[in-house]
Every structure is written in structure tokens, then in C-alpha cells.
């Protein structure tokens, strides 16, 4: 027997073993999960081998991937491109790609992934890299001044109103839909997300939801459990020391943990992100508010859908703002100057704080980021719930018969790759642009992005095949917890979905300014919320109320 045939057979057996080994865990998870962390047991194939192979680049726990790794992954995932494009077909084509370079991720990875694509197709890509905080301004200026100088765009769904709504994007050809296997994308990211007037524009490369990241060592610490038992303060229903399930419990544990130590280190509770972050910081108040403000009987939670009257100053949001004000004295002394980047990457990953809300990046970095010290002591769940939820229609707080209200905040709805309409006049260029975008949104490549620091979270049903992750080197309990928190957020029946309306970041940015004042003690939570509401009304009038109402309703599927 030839050695390579033998190796191949061994590898296939190994894959089968992994699949079978994982099936038990998957089955167990499926009991408590609402859906997609389901049993994906199927015969091993060449595709499985490829997926297993790329997940070993460079290997979990072997340091952060490098550009050489990105290129290797890009090369190995070229088969789908080769099926639709002949070698050298795009010779002479030049494309410009605009995207982010946050944390040295996003575009930095795309460059590596697309290098083998460039070598194969003959096309050349020029890059426009933007910091997260510069993104909105650059995009808006390009649109408003008619100077769209890029062919491919990395963009979040909230901007679709600004871009697709103005006819600036190219409609996705059918061959791309087949190449990227769009049916595999989780249901909450299926149309209407990515579409405008019924036309498909977006290749999804990311799934976004805020999940709840906590320290397992802190919430299983025996000394803290004893102290909790002895503590006479409000426990918000958390009889035994453990992971908080509601925001009321998050508040209680945060206040309790002030001044406590674990392993000789100061331990803090929840980490708020009060500092402005180019509008993106508002999502973190949204995550605190969603369980209070998103009623299961009402799709809207930011505005009244018929009038665009802001709900930011209703009792639910005001309670969330008040929670931050109440918690800040129990958080690290400089917390008021912390933005979300700091809470996740400089605090939580570095061992400060025991609870943080973030996108899935905390989960994908906690084991693979060189600066993380909490890889073995991090657990995950969907966002905490609330014992009661505000009903905007009756202006009452409701207690649901089913128990606490949960409302995962599907903040930002994930990044996508869009091709700009300016390539439509040149068929070769158009095909090249869509081929590059499809390569980045490929099924196998996306698995690698979900497993390593990339800036992107799982977003396909096929990403929730736990044995694949375990085979890659992830601890089974850890990855099950992480993926379950993501899947349960995406599939939650009461998920709080972001409105895809033009200028949404203007609303967020102005709110950040007012919140910064409120958190610094300038006025009450209600006064701050009223000021935000007033500023939001002005923005709505400035952009055009009727149009905003129409788009807001459409984005909520109403």
C-alpha cells in the first residue's frame, strides 16, 4: 500500500472517530439548545479532511496565526473559486477593497486569504484599511460626495440603508449564491438581512450577537460561596453562589465582589464600557437594556415603529442606565474611561473583571490570543435576562409566566462583503469582484475564521459541528459552552434585532455623548435619557421621518 493512501485512510478514520466522539456531546447539547448546535453526523469526506486540515493551521494553543497561515488557508480553500474561474481569467483586472484593520484582523487576514486567489486569477487587489472608529465617516463621505473609490466593501448590515438603499451595490449573481452555499447561513442572517427591495447584495462573513462571558473560577470559588451565603445584601434571587442569570443578579454580584480577592488578585464583577467608541459603545448599553426593553409581544425596542418616537427614555432603558450608574462604583476605579476595546481585551482577557458582554471575539480570543490569561477559566451564556420586562404598549412592567425575560442583543448583525455597483459596467471586473468576495465568504474558510482570531464569529449552521472544533484542539466543554451561547443568541425567539436604518450610528453617537455625561454624574438617568430622546427626534427629522419609519418597519420584518 502506498504510504499516502495509508495516511489518507488513517486520517479518514480519525475524522470518523472524532465525529462519533463528538456526537455524544452534540446530542447532550441539543437537549438544552434551541437548535443549530445539532447532531451533524455524516460520513467523513475530502471536504472534512480539508476542514480538519485548515483547522490545524497553526493549531489551537500554538500562538496567533501569521500571514503565512492566512495564505496557506486561502490556498487550501481555493477549490470553489477554481470551479467557477479559469486560471488567469482576471489578468489585468485591478480591484480596490475597503475594510477594517481592527486589532490587526479583518483586512489583514483578507490580504493573506486573497493572495493565492490573486495568484490564480491574475487579478490585483488594492487595499483601503480603516480603523473601526473611522469607518462610518469614510463610508458616509464617499456616499454623500459621490466618490465611491472602492469595488469591494466590508460592511455591517446596519449600513445597508445608507448604501444598498442608494443603489450603490451590485446585485449578487446566482453562481455566487451556489458557490458560498447561502442556505448554510443561520436563519437570522437570511433575508431580509443582506437584501434591499428583494435583491440580494451581501455575502455574510460574520454573525453578530453579544453574549455573556464570565469567569468560571470566580463563580465556583468556595470562599466566595461562603461569603455570599453570609452576605446580608440583596441577592436578587441568586440563593447559591453561581453564574448570574439575570441583570438583577449581575448587579448584586458586582456589588458583592467589590473588594474581594480570588487567588490573591482583586476580583471585580461586571465591566461596563461607559466611554464613547464612535457610536459602537451604545451597543453595550443596549445589551444591558434588551431584557428590560424587548418584550416578546413587540418586535420594536428602540423606537415606536409607527412614529419613530424614541423609547430610550422609557422606564426600561432608564433602568439600564441607572444600573450602569449603580454598578460603576463597584467596578475598577478607572472604569469610566473604559471603552469596549478595553473591557474585553485589556481587562477581561488580562484577568480583570469576572463578567463582560461582547461579541463572540472574547470566545475566539480567549484561547488563542497571546495576551489572554483566562483561557481555561472562561464560560459563556446568552445575555442575562430580567425578572420583569417593560411593555411599551401598556406602560407596565410584566412578569412573564415562563420566568425571566431573555432578549439576546444581535448587535450589528455581522459583517458582510458587498460588491459596489460601479463594477457592473465591466463584466470581467464584476465577475472578479464577486469571485474575490465569494472566496472570503466560502464555507470552509469561514470555519477557520470562526475558530481563530479574525474579527468574525460563527454564522453558518455548519460552524456548530463541535467535533470539528474538538479535533482542532479546543476543549470540548469550553467550545460547547461558547458555541451554545452563540447559537442560542442567534436563534432566540425574542432576539433584539438592530434596525437597518440610515444614520443609525448618528443616533448611537449622540447617545454616547449624553450617556458619558450621565455616567459622570451630570443629571439623573431619566434626564440623560430625555436628552437622548430629544436629540434622536432631531436626527429623525433631519434624515426624514417618513422614510425612517418605513425602513425601521422593514428591518423589523413588520
Amino acid at each position: 500500500m502506498r504510504k499516502e493512501v495509508y495516511d489518507r485512510l488513517m486520517m479518514m478514520q480519525s475524522s470518523r472517530r472524532n465525529v462519533l466522539k463528538g456526537a455524544a456531546a452534540v446530542g447532550a447539547l441539543a437537549v438544552g439548545s434551541s437548535g443549530i448546535v445539532g447532531a451533524l453526523t455524516r460520513p467523513a469526506s475530502a471536504q472534512d479532511n480539508l476542514r480538519a486540515q485548515i483547522l490545524q493551521i497553526p493549531g489551537i494553543g500554538k500562538g496567533q496565526p501569521t500571514d503565512a497561515d492566512f495564505q496557506k488557508v486561502g490556498e487550501l480553500c481555493l477549490a470553489a473559486t477554481k470551479a467557477n474561474v479559469t486560471e488567469g481569467e482576471f489578468a489585468g483586472v485591478e480591484l480596490t477593497f475597503m475594510g477594517l484593520n481592527n486589532q490587526n484582523l479583518h483586512n489583514v487576514l483578507f490580504r493573506g486569504f486573497l493572495k493565492p486567489w490573486e495568484a490564480y486569477t491574475g487579478a490585483k487587489i488594492n487595499w483601503i484599511d480603516l480603523a473601526q472608529a473611522d469607518y462610518n465617516a469614510r463610508l458616509q463621505q464617499s456616499i454623500a460626495t459621490g466618490t465611491v473609490d472602492f469595488d469591494i466593501l466590508q460592511m455591517g448590515a446596519p449600513f445597508e440603508g445608507d448604501v444598498c438603499g442608494k443603489g450603490l451595490t451590485s446585485e449578487m449573481p446566482d453562481w455566487v449564491k451556489t458557490q458560498i452555499d447561502m442556505q448554510d447561513v443561520v436563519s437570522y442572517l437570511q433575508p431580509p438581512v443582506g437584501t434591499w427591495d428583494g435583491k440580494q447584495y451581501r455575502i455574510t462573513v460574520d454573525g453578530d450577537a453579544h453574549n455573556f462571558n464570565y469567569r468560571t473560577d470566580v463563580f465556583s470559588d468556595a470562599a466566595l460561596a461562603e461569603a455570599w451565603k453570609a452576605d446580608a445584601g440583596d441577592k436578587a434571587g441568586l440563593a447559591e453562589w453561581g453564574v448570574p442569570k439575570t441583570w438583577q443578579q449581575v448587579q448584586a454580584t458586582t456589588k458583592f465582589l467589590k473588594g474581594k480577592q480570588v487567588g490573591g488578585q482583586d476580583v471585580y464583577g461586571y465591566l461596563d464600557a461607559p466611554k464613547a467608541w464612535g457610536g459602537f459603545g451604545f451597543y453595550f448599553l443596549g445589551s444591558r437594556a434588551s431584557a428590560y426593553a424587548k418584550h416578546p409581544d413587540d418586535k420594536a425596542w428602540l423606537f415606536d415603529s409607527d412614529t419613530m418616537k424614541p423609547r430610550i427614555n422609557n422606564p426600561a432603558w432608564v433602568r439600564a442606565i441607572q444600573d450602569v450608574i449603580d454598578a460603576l462604583p463597584s467596578e475598577p476605579p478607572d472604569q469610566i474611561n473604559a471603552d469596549p476595546n478595553q473591557t474585553a481585551f485589556q481587562q477581561f482577557l488580562a484577568g480583570t473583571g469576572s463578567m463582560v458582554v461582547w461579541w463572540g471575539d472574547v470566545g475566539s480570543n480567549v484561547k488563542t490570543n497571546d495576551s489572554s490569561v483566562v483561557g481555561d477559566v472562561t464560560g459563556f451564556s446568552i445575555l442575562p435576562g430580567s425578572d420583569d420586562v417593560y411593555n411599551s404598549k401598556t406602560s407596565q412592567w410584566d412578569k412573564l409566566p415562563s420566568g425571566p425575560n431573555y432578549a439576546p442583543n444581535c448587535a450589528y448583525i455581522g459583517w458582510g462583503i458587498y460588491v459596489m455597483a460601479r463594477v457592473d459596467s465591466d463584466e470581467k471586473k464584476k465577475k472578479a469582484a464577486w469571485s474575490a468576495a465569494a472566496h472570503l465568504g466560502g464555507k470552509d474558510l469561514s470555519l477557520w475564521c470562526a475558530a481563530y482570531p479574525s474579527g468574525f464569529q460563527p454564522y453558518r449552521n455548519s460552524h456548530f459541528d463541535i467535533p470539528e472544533w474538538v479535533a482542532a484542539g479546543y476543549d470540548e466543554a469550553f467550545i460547547s459552552s461558547y458555541l451554545k451561547s452563540e447559537a442560542d443568541s442567534y436563534n432566540h425567539p425574542n432576539a433584539a434585532i438592530e434596525p437597518r436604518i440610515p444614520g443609525i450610528f448618528q443616533y448611537y453617537s449622540v447617545a454616547e455623548d449624553e450617556l458619558a455625561k450621565t455616567f459622570a454624574g451630570q443629571g439623573t438617568a431619566q434626564e440623560g435619557a430625555d436628552r437622548i430622546a430629544s436629540a434622536w427626534e432631531k436626527i429623525t427629522d433631519q434624515i426624514g421621518r417618513e422614510n425612517q419609519i418605513k425602513l425601521y418597519k422593514a428591518s423589523l420584518g413588520m
Binding site: A133, P274, N337, Q506, V510, D513, A516, G544
Partner: protein, 362 residues
């Protein structure tokens, strides 16, 4: 010295030819401009998508103006040619954009708005007058500008030290200049976000060692403002210092020696001789520094985003947020234009006051 006046004999025909060339150039420019306005307003279908044609017409008009000058005025026209390109360039790159900026400031222009830019007169100005963020930022600027006096004292002290006969003087001059060579963005990260970081920053550790239990440099309004002032001062004190040092080195030695011979103490010599003689340099240094200070933004944006609660916000960082994060171009431009006028008025009054004061001192 006055230039010799050259009087050429210029024929009427030549003069008329010059007038004709200028008129033709002007006509072309006006026609191009009118065509584009009519096209962009949708009145006619004749025109171009971009305004580039007006730029070309402007260049052609500039050339026609130059030729016309020579034809009409001879030698004097040739002389005008030396200054004309600079004038036309300034008009195109400074004066026109400023005037256009005033127009933008009087529009309701939100980049996300489907209806585009709309003229709204002085509405942005009235909004600005009622805007607590702008007022807060202006008040902060008063504090920031007052800090220049402290910076001046420190800079003067350092300049005196470096002017003295100390060991390794040249080395220290270079070392003291280093902060000025750093970008304020680098200063923000290296010092504001690293050295002064609450958990691991060496400055925080030193503060703890000195007895401050919670050395959070950007958590309370007063300390945050002071920290920003220190960061900015650290960067720009060398700028004042180097100007003052140059002034000190240019002082006439005989006056100092005369004071010494007359038995003045160093203190008396400083107040009686050095300081008054240094006044013109000092004023220049302080005014230039104030102009720099009024533009303070980068450190604030990077380190505090104007917080906590607006305590460190500057006018420029607020305009930055209004313009960049909220795409509110019309209102943001109004804020910038009003700030420009305020700066011009403030600096003019300051210069007038200072010149009167130095006249009185002298």
C-alpha cells in the same frame, strides 16, 4: 527702497488686445460656472458630472489674466506675473474654500439624509448658541489656554538652565526637544494609554508607591483635565523652550555685563534686564503656543474621547465627533467657522493688548 517705475510706451491696440484676452478668459470662466450651476440644479441637461471643468476654466482665466497684464501694462505687467500665480493659488485653495465653508455652514447637510443638502440660513448658529456641548468645550478651552502660562514659566526655567554653562548642555538641548518630535497620537498611546494605565502603567505604580491608592488619571473630571494638560504640556513645552532659548542667546552681552558690574544680584538682573528684554520673544512664544493649544484635539480624542462627562472635551474634538461620528456636515462646519472667527478675534485682541502693554513697560 522703492522699485524703479518703468513706463513703457504701450499702444492702444495692445491695451485693447490685453483687455480682450482678459474679457475672453473671464467670459469662459463665468460661462463654465453658470453652465455647471444650471446643470447641477437640473435646469439644463448641458454640463458635466464633476466641477472639474470650472477648475480648468479658472486656470485658463488665470493664464488670460497674466497675458492681459503683460499686454496692458508692459514691464509692470511682467512684475505682476511674479505674484499672480501665488495670489490665484491662494484664492483657489484658501479664500474660495473658506467662503464655500461659510455657505456649507448655512446648510442642513446630514450625509445620511435622503434629501441631501438644504440651505437653512442661520439655523445652525442658533442651534450652536443653545448647544451645551459647545459651551462646555469653550469653557474647557479657557482652562487649557490658562495652562499656557504655567507652561511658559516651566519653559522659561528650562531655557535659562540650558543657556547656563552646564555640563552636557548640547545633549540636554536635544533630549529636551524630543517630546516635540513625537506625534501627539504617539504621546496619547505611549503615555496616556500605557504609562498612565491604571493596572500596569509605571506612572500608576509610582503613584501607588507614593500613597495614592487608586491612581486613575482619567476617571474624575479635574484630574482627567489636569492629566490632559500635562500630556499636552510635555509635548509642547520644548517648543516654547527652544524659542526662549534662542531669544536668550541673542541678548546683548554688554547689558548683562553692565548689570553685573553695577552689582545687580542674579534675581535683580533677571527681573530688571533679562525678562524685559525677552518680552518680545516671550509674547511670540506664548501666542504661538496659544494658537497650538486652541487646536488641541488628538490627545483628547485618543485618551478620553472628551470624557469623563465632557470634562476634557475641546472644541476641535467636539467638532470632530459631530462631523465624523454623526456625519452632520452643515452643523459641524458652522461650529468650525464660528471657532475660526473666535480665534481670529481673540488673537487680534490679545496682540493689541500685548502691544499696548509692552509699550507701557518700555
Amino acid at each position: 527702497m522703492t522699485l524703479e517705475v518703468v513706463t513703457d510706451e504701450i499702444s492702444t491696440a495692445r491695451r485693447n488686445a490685453g483687455r480682450l484676452v482678459i474679457a475672453a478668459g473671464s467670459l469662459l470662466l463665468v460661462a463654465a460656472f453658470a453652465m455647471q450651476i444650471l446643470y447641477k440644479s437640473g435646469t439644463t441637461t448641458l454640463g458635466y458630472e464633476t466641477w472639474r471643468v470650472v477648475l480648468y476654466a479658472y486656470v485658463a482665466w488665470g493664464i488670460a489674466l497674466g497675458i492681459g497684464q503683460v499686454l496692458m501694462r508692459g514691464e509692470a505687467g511682467w512684475r505682476a506675473l511674479f505674484i499672480l500665480p501665488a495670489v490665484l493659488f491662494t484664492v483657489a485653495m484658501v479664500i474660495f474654500p473658506t467662503l464655500f465653508g461659510f455657505y456649507i455652514a448655512m446648510t442642513d447637510w446630514n450625509l445620511s439624509s435622503f434629501s441631501g443638502r438644504k440651505f437653512n440660513g442661520l439655523a445652525n448658529l442658533w442651534q450652536m448658541l443653545a448647544d451645551p456641548y459647545y459651551r462646555n468645550a469653550l469653557l474647557n478651552m479657557v482652562f487649557y489656554v490658562l495652562a499656557v502660562l504655567v507652561e511658559y514659566i516651566v519653559a522659561f526655567g528650562l531655557a535659562l538652565l540650558l543657556n547656563a554653562q552646564i555640563r552636557a548642555r548640547k545633549f540636554f538641548r536635544v533630549v529636551f526637544l524630543l517630546p516635540l518630535m513625537l506625534s501627539p497620537v504617539a504621546v496619547s498611546w505611549m503615555i496616556g494609554k500605557s504609562l498612565m494605565e491604571y493596572r500596569f502603567g509605571p506612572a500608576a505604580k509610582l503613584a501607588r508607591w507614593l500613597g495614592w491608592d487608586t491612581p486613575a488619571f482619567f476617571a474624575t473630571p479635574e484630574i482627567a483635565r489636569l492629566s490632559i494638560m500635562l500630556l499636552d504640556a510635555w509635548t509642547f513645552i520644548p517648543f516654547m523652550m527652544i524659542m526662549l532659548l534662542a531669544g536668550l542667546q541673542a541678548l546683548p552681552k554688554d547689558v548683562m555685563e553692565a548689570a553685573h558690574v553695577d552689582g545687580a544680584t542674579p534675581w535683580q538682573a533677571f527681573w530688571g534686564v533679562t525678562f524685559p528684554l525677552m518680552l518680545p520673544v516671550s509674547i511670540t512664544a506664548v501666542i504661538l503656543r496659544i494658537i497650538f493649544k486652541l487646536k488641541l484635539a488628538d490627545i483628547v480624542i485618543n485618551v478620553t474621547s472628551g470624557g469623563p462627562g465632557g470634562a476634557t472635551d475641546t472644541v476641535t474634538s467636539f467638532i470632530f465627533r459631530e462631523y465624523r461620528d454623526r456625519s452632520n456636515v452643515g452643523y459641524g462646519t458652522m461650529l468650525a467657522m464660528v471657532y475660526l472667527i473666535l480665534i481670529i478675534v481673540f488673537i487680534t485682541l490679545l496682540l493689541k493688548f500685548v502691544s499696548r502693554w509692552t509699550r507701557d513697560v518700555n
